[in-house]
Subunit: 420 residues, 2 copies
């Protein structure tokens, strides 16, 4: 059996080119192929147009061993993926009675009327390996030219069909055709930018080949993806672990977790370990800290809740911030942040209280307190600490709020570290 | 000036080919180009690999008038989009002092250390039209070969930079190069599903050509995009308005706004009009209502704040929910939702109080109270009303929380309607 090393993903659908839907299939298939150790060289999206599909198919099968298509298997006149691929492989079409009876049964079961064009979905290229679709009407299929080592796998477009079909049927088909395994682990950093990180790591990023280390930046954070290729999964994972140890030695102070997903998961995990409870008081983040913490299921034993205190009056009423503090220092000040964190900790009876107050913009900034100014406070039995952020006033409101919340999470994690 | 009729979108980034991120940029750019009346023929994604980028660029500029790239403008060694496009257009690179001083100022302002590789971001191909980036360090740029009518526009990869750069800088650049004007208006509906809406509207959706009407569904909402093409903007907009009047006649009771963006903007706008103030008490939405309301800038005069009461103890302490109510009816009940809304309204001194309590999943459901059960309450001077939602337990936590918050917004809007 011929081996598959490289792949291209070819998505068919005018709705993708109009931007009506986001191409999540390409990301899903890429992840799956990466896990199989098959390198994806290109994604292409074309409309429901046979000439452009044929051109894209030619390019794909010239450059890669495998092309996976999504879309264009439906019953309508403009669904032409199967026919185009069959012509490219020089295969004629036949009526696959097994698929036809399954489609008939599907319509019978769902009580819908089967139209003539649904029969088209049971037409197959000669020699195709047909994968039954338990989630819709269009079967998936693979077509292989063994002499040229070229394979085409065709999947229906809706993710609700494509994902289970891939997992249940295509994965076993492909697993027989791989030589090596690729494993990845993700190292999460906060408090260092991408350029500064590269400077700190010197040539490590370029020099690392197997395992490789790739940086991804997102809203004030960096993730380093460590990827190793080996004959088996265990070897690949231990190669990853070796590199992670090296990264811990180089930039460990910024690393808040490995494979944790994000800061909010790291915070909830850490609180579960120490058993401390948390409450938050939010002005400029306006509920975002609580929202991100409650995105994580099962955190209600450690995250008690919090107060969104958007006005001065409510800061006084719910948190006990003093009138005098607000008058002398203003709502956006170290002193107010401090009293908010202490207030929410006391009033909710939590071990840890965090608070934010600042100017998220786009309006509301002054020369003294420009947009991007945020005070983030943490109050614990050991006292209260306040971090002053000066984020760029050109950053979006969304970015400023997100990064302010992330700093609150970072301060919790730093405190938790000291507890262990 | 040469006219642009066709485009290709070329996204650069190994993280896309690994499936680490979903290509939302391609969908965003496609939508924007569709609105401009520029046909998108293909999306291509390649990794950070100059040879493959050059091949994709050749194919794109062979088939289309315009290529828009995203990604590969960063400071690191593998960011090569600008250099590859410059070579393709036969242009040398120069140090753009204006961009350099902006990048220096950016680092100065944000208090970060500028490293040598950041200087690379200020290198520009000769003849480029540079678009200042107010949201990050990499400027965007356009390069045009007037004799061949080929244009390349290069944008940074992060959506937080790409989206505002496109809207503020690239859109005006492209608008000068179109022959007809396309205008769109968006009609927002809540409380009706896409199929039910199609049934109500009969053949209107298929029959409407200019203006056309396209439905987009998202997390319990439907948006109808009305698009008209005409010689000038005013004519196109008045064609849209005629269609909107027709839609108001057909399904007006579900329409909560035109061009309002989303429910949270509609709520803040509406509160500004009536002058009523709002407070919220959140259990299962855990801060999401407050977060969505404070995503809207300038709402602090009408949205006072709220309480995230994730535990029973905090529901009693912050909102005055009675022990007896929690024992007799449980935290997820009409009675608890009612007391939460009344409590937050009274304690924060707001005109309107809203509250949510429910099971967002994936765990925590029982036979009596399955995942997807949510009570949403509104308390006003006219009394308290509770809505009982039974969302499908197969829906994600994110979906259930989002839709629960949306119902709270809908209840506020329904109440506000009666005030006018």
């Amino acid at each position: 059996m011929s081996m598959i090393h490289t792949a291209e993903i070819l998505c068919v659908g005018t709705e993708l080119l109009l931007g009506d839907i986001v191409n999540t299939n390409a990301a899903f298939l890429s992840q799956q192929l990466a896990e199989l150790g098959i390198a994806v060289y290109r994604h292409t999206v074309v409309g429901d147009n046979p000439a452009r599909l044929e051109a894209a198919l030619c390019a794909a099968l010239r450059d890669a061993d495998l092309v996976i298509t999504s879309g264009g298997l439906g019953p309508t006149y403009d669904d032409l993926t199967k026919e185009t691929v069959a012509a490219h492989f020089g295969r004629s079409m036949y009526m696959d009675e097994h698929s036809l009876s399954r489609i008939e049964a599907y319509f019978h079961r769902t009580g819908r009327v089967m139209t003539d064009n649904n029969r088209k979905q049971a037409m197959m290229p000669v020699g195709a390996c047909v994968f039954d679709n338990d989630y819709g009407t269009a079967p998936a299929l693979a077509l292989c030219d063994e002499t040229k080592n070229k394979t085409a796998i065709m999947l229906p477009g809706p993710p609700s069909e494509l994902i289970p079909l891939f997992r249940d049927k295509v994965l076993p088909y492909l697993q027989e055709r791989r030589e090596t395994v690729i494993e990845s682990r993700n190292v999460y950093l906060f408090g260092i930018g991408e350029s500064a990180l590269e400077t700190r790591l010197g040539t490590l990023l370029q020099d690392a080949v197997n395992p490789s280390v790739a940086p991804y930046c997102k809203e004030g954070e960096v993730r380093l993806r460590v990827t190793a290729r080996a004959a088996d999964s265990q070897t690949a994972l231990s190669m990853c672990d070796g590199m992670i140890d090296r990264l811990m030695g180089e930039v460990g102070e910024y690393i808040y977790g490995v494979d944790v997903g994000d800061l909010e998961h790291a915070v909830i995990d850490s609180l579960h370990r120490t058993g401390l409870t948390l409450a938050c008081a939010e002005s400029c983040t306006g509920g975002l800290i609580a929202k991100r913490l409650t995105d994580v299921p099962g955190g209600s034993d450690v995250f008690l809740g919090g107060c969104v205190t958007y006005t001065n009056e409510i800061k006084k009423r719910l948190l006990g911030v003093r009138e005098d503090t607000l008058c002398r220092y203003s709502a956006v000040s170290e002193q107010t942040a401090r009293e908010m964190a202490e207030g929410v900790r006391a009033r909710l009876g939590a071990d840890v209280g965090v608070a934010t107050t600042g100017i998220a913009g786009p309006g509301g900034g002054t020369e003294q307190i420009p947009v991007g100014t945020v005070y983030v406070a943490i109050s614990t039995k050991d006292g209260t600490e306040v971090r002053h952020l000066s984020l760029s006033p050109n950053r979006s409101r969304t970015y400023i709020r997100h990064v302010a919340a992330s700093h609150a999470f970072d301060m919790i994690l730093q405190y938790e570290k000291k507890q262990k």
